[in-house]
């Protein structure tokens, strides 16, 4: 067995752990600039920098080796299976990378006049229409640069809608299992979070919802399938209840991958939808970003969408329209993460109608198959519900019998060659292991991962030290997070 994150051994003068700053030597340099072909100019003295910044001085060779080695201390989807629940870490097609680098896109300046960027505008226009068709919405903005910004956009649209109706409402309802960005966005949009409990099936407790919502509720935010990987079977009733008090229903697209081509948020009664292109449409997550969080809306909410918007004139020319008096305004300095949207476009149209439906089918098949393989050892939190694209298993029985926690299992999985699942989320499940295999993994990978998880489970009983000590195959072992917060070292 070979561990991951343990790259080829190399001679490394800094012991493999130094920062680039430690490689710095006065006078060493990587940059080159052409000779100055115009007269020198001088900055007024009162504006001049007094002493140079402490950036490293290194040769190009140094920085290539340094950052190559750092990349070898990192695990990506290309390295192997990455079943991080709620994150849809599927394979990122290489063709999407290549087309995003086309110079006509990469080197376009955002202030170029519309007639010189017809290709960019048409791409955005076509993608907007495809995303609307997939979600059952009428128009969309592609501006939000990430899902959380999409949430804020949607909630500001909700706010603008109620303002237009003449009375602002104060609260937005969110289920207790929701992603943390939901309540954080609710507050940023000027609302208070109203927490809705789950019922015994892990679904929204509809009677509690009926009891809790009133005419002070601006809307409800919901993921469907929800954060437990379960489809909200009473979704029609849920949206009806919220609409009944004049509220709007917001679809958090974190789990859209599970339902592509099978059902659409618009048909379930949702009014606002955000999409995480870095989940559903395989735009790579970049170690934490960039993402993109397009937001679609139903007809009555179109006036509130951000500006500028891409419109097509009768002569077929595309243009940016800034004039929309009821718009919430601008969510990004320019048009959002355009380069990410090119990748999403490539993904959507490569797959096409059947391909997208197949994505959802295979994602749900993989999750159900994997859940089946491991559920004896790690029971599903809600055993009666059929998981969709991901499942939440509980490590609680294991902890009760052996004292081994979900995090110990996760760390042992690293030594067994895998990126672990999400642990301790959603917060409402004790010792949660949230597993999302995605559609791009083979049966053989799932079989082997299940085997490893069962091995870890056996070891928890037979040789618990293996789990307590794990990981031992990585460049560093478990890190002292409390120390990091207590002795703040946030820079060299």
């Amino acid at each position: 067995m070979s561990g991951i994150g343990a790259p080829v051994r190399t001679q490394d003068p800094a012991g493999g752990r130094g920062t680039i700053k430690e490689l710095s030597r006065p006078g060493r340099r990587a940059y080159s600039l052409p000779a100055l072909d115009v007269p020198e100019a001088h900055m007024p003295a009162e504006h001049a920098r007094a002493s140079p910044p402490g950036l490293p001085e290194v040769a190009e060779r140094d920085l290539v080796t340094h950052y190559t080695r750092l990349s070898q201390r990192n695990y990506g989807v290309d390295t192997g299976f990455y079943p991080l629940g709620s994150c849809s870490m599927k394979y990122n097609p290489k063709i999407a990378e290549r087309v995003a680098q086309l110079s006509g896109f990469l080197l376009a300046h955002p202030h170029q006049p519309d007639h010189t960027v017809q290709g960019c505008l048409e791409l955005l226009w076509r993608l907007e229409r495809a995303l609307c068709e997939i979600t059952g919405m009428v128009r969309a903005t592609l501006q939000p640069p990430a899902g959380a910004c999409g949430e804020l956009t949607g909630l500001l649209i909700m706010r603008a809608h109620h303002a237009k109706q003449g009375r602002q409402r104060r609260k937005v309802a969110i289920p207790d299992s929701s992603h943390g960005t939901n309540p954080a966005s609710v507050r940023l949009a000027g609302f208070e979070a109203l927490h809705i409990p789950s019922d015994g099936r892990g679904l929204v407790d509809v009677s509690a919802l009926e009891r809790l919502v009133d005419e002070d509720v601006a809307g409800l935010m919901l993921t469907n399938p929800n954060t437990l990987g379960l489809f909200e079977e009473e979704i029609e009733r849920v949206t009806e209840v919220v609409h009944g008090v004049g509220g709007l229903v917001y679809y958090d697209g974190a789990n859209l991958n599970a339902i592509l081509g099978r059902c659409r948020p618009g048909d379930m009664g949702f009014d606002i939808v955000h999409i995480n292109t870095h989940k559903t449409f395989a735009t790579p997550h970049g170690g934490g970003g960039p993402g993109a969080g397009p937001v679609g809306v139903t007809e009555p909410l179109v006036p509130f969408l951000p500006v500028p918007r891409v419109e097509r004139a009768e002569d077929g020319q595309f243009r940016l329209d800034h004039a929309a008096p009821d718009s919430i305004g601008r969510m990004h300095g320019f048009l959002g993460n355009f380069g990410v949207l090119v990748r999403a476009y490539a993904y959507v149209f490569l797959h096409g109608r059947d391909g997208l439906t197949e994505v959802a089918e295979r994602a749900v098949l993989n999750a159900n198959y994997l859940a089946h393989l491991v559920r004896q050892a790690f029971p599903l939190q809600y055993p009666n519900g059929r998981p969709m694209h991901e499942f939440v298993a509980s490590g609680r029985p294991l902890k009760e019998r052996t004292g081994i926690r979900a995090m110990d299992v996760a760390k042992r999985m690293i030594d067994l060659g895998y990126h672990p699942s999400t642990v301790y989320f959603p917060l409402v499940v004790e010792e949660a292991l949230m597993v999302e295999p995605t559609e791009t993994e083979t049966k053989e990978t799932l079989d082997a991962f299940a085997e490893a998880l069962l091995q870890a489970h056996r070891e928890a009983h037979e040789d618990p030290e293996l789990l307590h000590e794990a990981p031992v195959t990585t460049p560093v072992r478990r890190l002292d997070e409390a120390r990091a917060a207590r002795h703040l070292t946030l820079r060299w």
Partner: protein, 441 residues
């Protein structure tokens, strides 16, 4: 083209294992009434060759700075991206990884982000930074939220020479947060006198400003402090080899658009939001922060730290809702800044300033063209007053192969903002002057 690897036999065996006979049964829990009874109205999927051709055709419908000599700025700049940056930042161990939730498997990204934070602190002369925000405009909105955390101080004063797109973004964010940005007037394109009452949270100054002009930033920040408000500096990272950094100017929070650090313009995104603050504000900082620590064996390593500020722990009490940020661009920025080093940063800043000064001289020699604001000092960008509408002149110059600048609403649309980076040659600048003369004739 599809990427799911299942053979028919795989599907059959997996279904059998879970006790089902068809894929449709996997979706039985979706109520009848909301199922989509028709195929999506999207074309059939295509092969890799076909999508390449489709996107080649779309890209070919754009002009770009590949064929247009770029003098446009206004928040996006044609700086050189060295060859070394993307082969490293684009290594798939970086770009196909998620947010580093499992630090033992993510030491690469975590250490680069630690180096990034360090370099942003070095650049700005401030004490703490984070793992990036979306872009300059949204970074400013986050900075304002931070500044407004002081009770009783909610008003936001913004110089009228701050990029109008940034102000629009503040206006949008302010609808939720409960403020309306208030512009204070500038005199001849800069300066001004913000009235900092005791309910003011912050004074925002962009320096160099949206006209490219140098602001009396130290004085304006002094006025903010005298009124008890925070000073927010919107800066240009590539100016900081030659211009005094935010920390020396006594800014409390500095934010910037960081795409200029080794990232391409990409039609305005993905871009890179930078933020730096004083240490006092670290617990109010939005977004991910990487900290150094030790592992069980005493080895140095890196983790996401101070997570109690963040949405996944603190939920509605979090300092921000940001989750996904722009890490990959931060990785590129780190490599770029290591490539430049302190000397390169200074030399690059001097090149920009020299070329911009030369361009201003040549362009104002064109009959009828003059500086919009007299001899106000600038860094790499400056506004011109043209005898004709600037948009028309810009369009005519595109036909001659130049992206001449960004038209401004000032002077009834007769103002053009011209940016000159280290990439522009004397020949190109002379060519622009010649072209401008022709289109204005």
């Amino acid at each position: 083209m599809r990427f799911a690897p299942h053979t028919d036999d795989d599907v059959a065996r997996m279904l059998e294992a879970i006790g089902l006979t068809s894929l449709d049964q996997l979706f039985d829990q979706i109520p009848e009434g909301v199922r989509l009874a028709r195929p999506l109205d999207i074309p059939d999927g295509v092969s890799e060759m076909e999508i390449q051709a489709d996107l080649d055709a779309l890209a070919a419908r754009n002009r770009s700075t590949e064929d247009l000599v770029c003098f446009a700025g206004g928040g996006a700049y044609d700086h050189y991206v060295p060859a070394v940056v993307w082969p490293l930042a684009g290594r798939s161990e970086f770009y196909t990884s998620y947010t580093p939730y499992q630090p033992e498997l993510s030491q690469g990204v975590l250490q680069v982000l630690f180096e990034f934070q360090s370099m942003i602190c070095e650049l700005t002369g401030l004490e703490v930074s984070n793992a990036s925000l979306y872009d300059g405009a949204t970074a400013l909105a986050e900075a304002v939220n931070l500044a407004r955390s002081t009770p009783g101080r909610g008003r936001v004063l913004v110089s009228a020479a701050v990029d109008p797109r940034y102000v629009e973004t503040l206006r949008t964010y302010g609808r939720g947060a409960g403020y309306e940005p208030e512009l204070f007037e500038v005199v001849d394109g800069r300066g001004g006198a913000p009235d900092v009452a005791e309910d003011v949270a912050c004074v925002i100054v962009q320096h160099p400003n949206a006209y490219g002009l140098l602001e009396p930033a130290r004085d304006l920040f002094g006025v903010a402090h005298a009124g008890g408000a925070r000073a927010i500096h919107v800066f240009d990272p590539l100016s900081l080899g030659v211009l005094a950094p935010p920390g020396d100017l006594r800014a409390d929070i500095a934010v910037a658009e960081g795409h200029v650090l080794g990232n391409h313009m990409h039609y305005g995104g993905p871009f890179l939001g930078l933020i730096a603050t004083r240490l006092d504000d670290v617990r109010r900082m939005p977004g991910r922060i990487v900290g150094e620590t030790l592992d069980m064996d005493g080895r140095t390593g890196y983790v996401l730290t101070l997570q109690a500020r963040e949405q996944h722990i603190r939920r509605e009490k979090a300092t921000s809702n940001i989750c996904t940020n722009q890490t990959l661009l931060a990785i590129a920025a780190t490599i770029y800044l290591a490539w430049l080093g302190p000397e390169g940063l200074e030399e690059l800043g001097r090149r920009c300033a020299a070329k911009a000064a030369y361009a201003a001289e040549r362009l104002t020699e064109v009959p009828g063209v003059e500086p919009l604001f007299g001899d106000a000092p600038f860094f790499k960008e400056f506004p011109l007053l043209l005898p004709k509408p600037a948009a028309a002149a810009r369009d005519a110059l595109i036909e001659r192969g130049f992206l001449a600048g960004v038209p401004l609403p000032d002077a009834d649309g007769h103002a053009l903002l011209v940016a000159v980076t280290e990439r522009r040659t004397r020949e190109e600048i002379d060519g622009l002057a010649m072209g401008l003369k022709e289109v204005l004739a």
